[in-house]
């Protein structure tokens, strides 16, 4: 196969290395150093997709990040990725890509019928056409839009690639390695500053790769290469290619995505696919250059119409001709540079210049090369459907309003230059107040909010000499400020051709009787007529016009369309462009993979997993685990074919009849020390704490200032000024912050220290009527009788040589103890408990049995203390001290909290004693009442009572105090269940609490 559009020589590609690839199922080859776009053009492929709305044929418009058309679906190493720009994707062996937006194929597209129906798809067509009737939306409109529109298909498979995040600090971050980036990086690096130089493309040098200039007796590219290799050798400099700084956030935090493996057939072992850099820079130098903007004319979206700078880049970097009969349509000197490159390679271009008699060195060179130049000429419309075949051109009057007679010129591409738009995205994101520069018809950065400066073309400076001078100086000044070191570099001699002023002309008028579509936004198919309609319909703010027409809202974020859109609005509205203003630039500058944003925080890595020191024992004994906050806890221990229900019932039953042991290591533990520790507890908890004796534990409830229960737990007085507080697993971190808040800010006079000791202690709850017998075996030297260690008592003990803390506290409602040992001894303790407990029929129990035990006892937990309930609601009002003030007390006297028919916790039993009650169900009086059926309460927790062998639930019920004995209905619309129930006391088992004291 021949590459009919590839030059015999030239370009920066490696012609020794052929690379084969596939596009839409056909095999092609290119060279190492090609992009998918350059390789396709070299092979004569000019049709790459269909447009978003009208499905018009799409070719290539740019050669890089500004590309609005050439978006493909990429296949690599068994994976697929949507929304890839062919102009950015580097070619690799075995690359496969397909067109998007085409159904059934790029050459025959059903959606293209939209093109002929376009009268029905004007501005705001989504809003208008698909608004009504509402019932059509899900079944008809949405599937239609989804099928017809879109930029590819996301894979639904798990992404096996690895993405990393990296945090970095630097003195200067420089975004772009064109002349301004290189010069500023070089002078800053020489002053010893820590510099990061980021280049989006694979090659460093920016415009120096394509411009005919001379710096210090070297070509632009040679100079760029020498600077880069010198920078790479410097220890204080990080130079990164394929790295795009896409977001500028607060306090000079910038985010950059580095594409490490996207240019390879397969990610190397132990390498990430992409890396996201969070960079905190003292100073930022924005050297992002500028993007050529199009001139608007009829059918200007036809494949073959492209930016003149792109045509030059394909020629000079890739040795590729975008056409063999080029027409260059320009309002400035840049078009001439492209024409000269064509001519040098034996191709005869025609230049149409909108200017009448421009004169400059560049123009003179073109004239000397005998290039055909037509002044005061415009392209009226491109002709051809899937590729430009010719152009209708005409002379234009001096006032740029009247067209002369139409002539037709045969051509196979139209290279357009409407002058240059500085890339101000990052500056704008940083909060820079931009200003409109009349000389270049574009916005440039003006007043900085953060530490940033914009250099070179991004700042509207278009001569190389001025750019280099300014950049060397800024790099020097800013780095000197940071390093106090100056190593001035001598300014190189610069040779460049002088250009003359551009013509402000940007839109070709329609010839009489013609209604060509003249596109502004090429990716979203927004034409001049759409903007006109939006304005006619009363949209004024540019932000509204943007949203209504979708101008600049595509994935290219209007890189080539924004300014022409503004020009149009300002012309129709008879305002100047700065008065219209530009829309807000937001990150990302260019699309970023979701994978890169997520990084390594996926699956099990999304949060740390905490395991108790006894975890491996649980694993060995068939524990099925459940996430409890960041902890993994055994939910139940599976025996044989048991399911969750059967196992948890067995475990709970064994606690009620024999003895069970539960790993309670995860409970939050806070060590509290100091002479004012009792006073702190007295203020934080609702009950009295000043008189708790040493060696005793007490149950406490703490509130938020708004009266809502925050947490509960037991706190034990270990010694005179030392307390051991426990919190629920979920609230451990919040309770510590809460205590620190009051100690540091509200009552700094209290002499108390708090510290989390959750990880320091492993805990085992030993519960059941035989637990005391077991304890005796474990601590033969200690007096653990009811007298020696009464309910809520505490003692220290010796567990076969290991120091242990023994608390007589109970969550299960049975006679129970909690034993704590230092974490390293946790496994030892557990094994000893199991071993010694064997003769008493001990079984380990998990969180499910734990729940069952506490629910049927009416002990509240997280599902009742859910941030919406006060102590009364949980029947904890007996713990509210009347004698002292405490956090949140004042709120409890608010009217709603003191209401007579206030909600309260109750027990719920199904009348049939069989049907399980779904958690979260509603309680209602009448199951047949018309909707909305008044809700009296909700089920907070459900279990199968092992004591009575029937379902039992806890509920928070309106006027719960007076509802005992009532018959109500539980309704679960989610599970489609209606269950008749009876309301009973929440203390279903052992209401007097005799067992814990036995």
């Amino acid at each position: 196969m021949t590459q009919s559009f590839r030059l015999e020589s030239g370009g920066l590609i490696n012609r020794d290395k052929k690379i084969s690839f596939k596009f839409n199922g056909k095999n092609y080859f290119g060279y190492e150093g090609d992009t998918l776009a350059s390789a396709l053009i070299a092979n004569g492929v000019h049709l790459i997709g269909r447009s978003f709305k009208y499905h018009r044929p799409r070719g290539f418009f740019g050669a890089g990040v500004d590309e609005p058309y050439a978006i493909v679906q990429l296949y690599r190493n068994g994976e697929t990725e949507p929304n890839i720009k062919a102009t950015e994707q580097e070619l690799f062996e075995g690359l496969e890509a397909k067109s998007v937006n085409c159904w059934p194929s790029v050459n025959f597209d059903v959606g293209a019928i939209n093109n002929f129906l376009k009268i029905f798809l004007p501005a705001g067509f989504y809003y208008k056409t698909f608004m009504w009737p509402k019932s059509f939306w899900y079944k008809i409109y949405e599937p239609f839009i989804r099928r017809a529109a879109g930029l590819g298909t996301a894979s639904i498979k798990h992404d096996k690639e690895r993405y990393e995040h990296k945090y970095e600090y630097c003195d200067l971050l420089i975004t772009g390695s064109g002349p301004s980036g290189l010069a500023s990086a070089y002078s800053a690096a020489k002053n010893g500053a820590k510099v990061i130089l980021a280049e989006d493309k694979s090659r460093f040098g920016g415009t120096l790769l394509t411009s005919e200039v001379n710096i210090g007796n070297q070509s632009g590219k040679e100079w760029a290469d020498s600077i880069i290799s010198e920078l790479k050798e410097m220890p204080n400099v990080t130079v990164k290619n394929r790295s795009q700084v896409f977001g500028y956030y607060d306090h000079n935090m910038l985010v950059m995505s580095e594409r490490i493996s996207d240019h390879l057939p397969k990610t190397k072992k132990f390498h990430p696919k992409q890396r996201l850099w969070y960079i905190r820079a003292k100073e930022v130098l924005i050297s992002s250059g500028s993007i050529e903007r199009p001139i608007v004319f009829g059918n200007n979206d036809t494949p073959g119409v492209m930016l003149s700078s792109a045509a030059k880049e394909y020629l000079k970097v890739y040795g590729v001709l975008v056409g063999k009969k080029p027409l260059v349509f320009t309002n400035n000197d840049s078009g001439y540079e492209t024409a000269i490159e064509f001519k040098k390679n034996g191709i005869d271009p025609i230049i149409l210049d909108t200017r009448k008699e421009p004169k400059s060195e560049i123009i003179e060179e073109a004239q000397n090369m005998n290039i055909n130049i037509k002044n005061s000429y415009v392209v009226v419309a491109a002709q051809g459907y899937k590729k430009v075949k010719s152009a209708d051109v005409a002379k234009i009057s001096d006032n740029k309003e009247e067209l002369g007679s139409i002539e037709n010129i045969e051509c196979d591409c139209i290279c357009v230059s409407g002058f240059w738009t500085p890339t101000i995205h990052l500056a704008s994101q940083s909060g820079n107040k931009t200003k409109f520069n009349e000389d270049i018809d574009a916005f440039v950065p003006s007043i900085s909010k953060q530490n940033e400066k914009t250099l070179g073309a991004a700042n509207g400076i278009y001569t190389l000499e001025e750019t280099l001078k300014d950049s060397f100086e800024k790099g020097n000044l800013l780095s000197k400020k940071i390093t106090n070191n100056e190593n001035k570099v001598s300014f190189p001699n610069v040779v460049e051709k002088k250009s003359t002023v551009h013509d402000k002309f940007w839109c070709v008028p329609l010839p009489k009787g013609k209604s060509y579509k003249r596109f502004l936004d090429f990716q979203n198919d927004v034409a001049v007529s759409d903007i006109e309609i939006a304005l006619k319909e009363g949209y004024r703010s540019i932000e509204h016009v943007k949203r209504y027409t979708t101008l600049g809202m595509a994935t290219d974020q209007g890189k080539t369309s924004n300014l022409n859109g503004l020009q149009l609005v300002s012309k129709i509205e008879n305002k100047v462009v700065p008065a219209v203003g530009h829309t807000t630039f937001r990150p990302p500058y260019s699309p970023v993979s979701i994978g890169a944003i997520v990084g390594r925080e996926i699956g099990k890595h999304s949060k740390p997993t905490r395991k108790s020191p006894i975890h491996s024992w649980h694993e060995k004994n068939n524990a099925v685990f459940v996430d409890a906050g960041v902890w993994l806890r055994p939910r139940y221990y599976k025996r044989g074919e048991e399911n969750l229900f059967e196992a948890s019932k067995r475990e709970a039953k064994n606690v009620r009849t024999n003895v069970g042991v539960c790993d309670v290591t995860t409970l939050g533990k806070i060590d509290i020390k100091g002479p004012d520790a009792a006073e702190l507890l007295n203020r934080v908890y609702t009950n009295a704490w000043l008189k708790l004796p040493v060696g005793k534990a007490r149950y406490g409830v703490m509130l938020r200032e708004d009266g809502i229960v925050m947490d509960d737990g037991t706190t034990t007085r270990i010694s005179e000024n030392h307390y051991h507080m426990t919190t629920t697993t979920a609230q451990a971190a919040n309770v510590l912050s809460h205590l620190e808040y009051y100690l540091q800010l509200v009552w700094p006079e209290l002499n108390v220290n708090v510290v989390s000791t959750t990880e320091q202690w492993a805990g085992a709850a030993i519960a059941g009527p035989k637990s005391r017998e077991l304890l005796k075996k474990l601590f033969p030297k200690s007096d653990v009788t009811n007298e020696g260690l009464p309910f809520m008592g505490y003692m220290e003990g010796d567990l076969f040589g290991v120091k242990a803390k023994i608390f007589r506290i109970s969550f299960s409602g049975e006679l129970a103890y909690e034993v704590n040992v230092e974490s390293d001894n946790g496994y030892f303790m557990w094994e000893k408990i199991i071993e010694a407990g064997e003769e008493f029929g001990i079984q380990p129990y998990g969180t499910e049995a734990l729940s069952t035990l506490r629910i049927e006892m009416g002990h509240v937990a997280g599902s009742e203390l859910d941030g919406r309930t006060i102590p009364y609601d949980n029947s904890l009002e007996g713990l509210l001290s009347k004698k002292k003030d405490f956090i949140g007390k004042r709120s409890l006297s608010r009217k709603a909290f003191a209401a007579e028919d206030r909600q309260k916790i109750v027990g719920v039993v199904p009348l049939d004693k069989k049907t399980s009650i779904p958690e979260g169900s509603h309680l209602v009086k009448d199951s047949n009442a018309p909707l909305p059926n008044p809700k009296l309460g909700y089920i907070s927790a459900s279990c199968w009572s092992v004591e009575y062998d029937n379902p039992f639930s806890l509920a928070i019920l309106k006027d719960g105090k007076n509802m005992i004995g009532e018959k109500l209905f539980v309704m679960s619309p989610l599970k489609n269940k209606v269950i008749p129930v009876e309301i009973v006391s929440s203390h279903y088992v052992d209401p007097k609490g005799e067992r814990v004291r036995s």
């Binding site: 808040y741 540091q744 800010l745």
Partner: protein, 89 residues
Amino acid sequence: MLHIKCPHCGLRSQNEFSYGGDATVKRPELGKEISDKDWDNFVYNRKSLRGKHWELWQHLSGCRQWIKVQRDTATHEIFKTLKANEEIS
């Protein structure tokens, strides 16, 4: 992401801190009578200012100290940070 100068640890990124609301709110003294209105003002009513604002942050993943930060709520500019025991002037 904000860059906050902890008076104890120095400049650190925002993700080490947690936000704690208006730093100028004073908790009423314990045990003192207080009207419903004054209590509501303490618990609920906040000004939600645009502009300079003294607020509390806790250096959660650092020294665990609560600090006072003067920040512009519109521009995120941070003017000053104080230790918990330093008075706002």
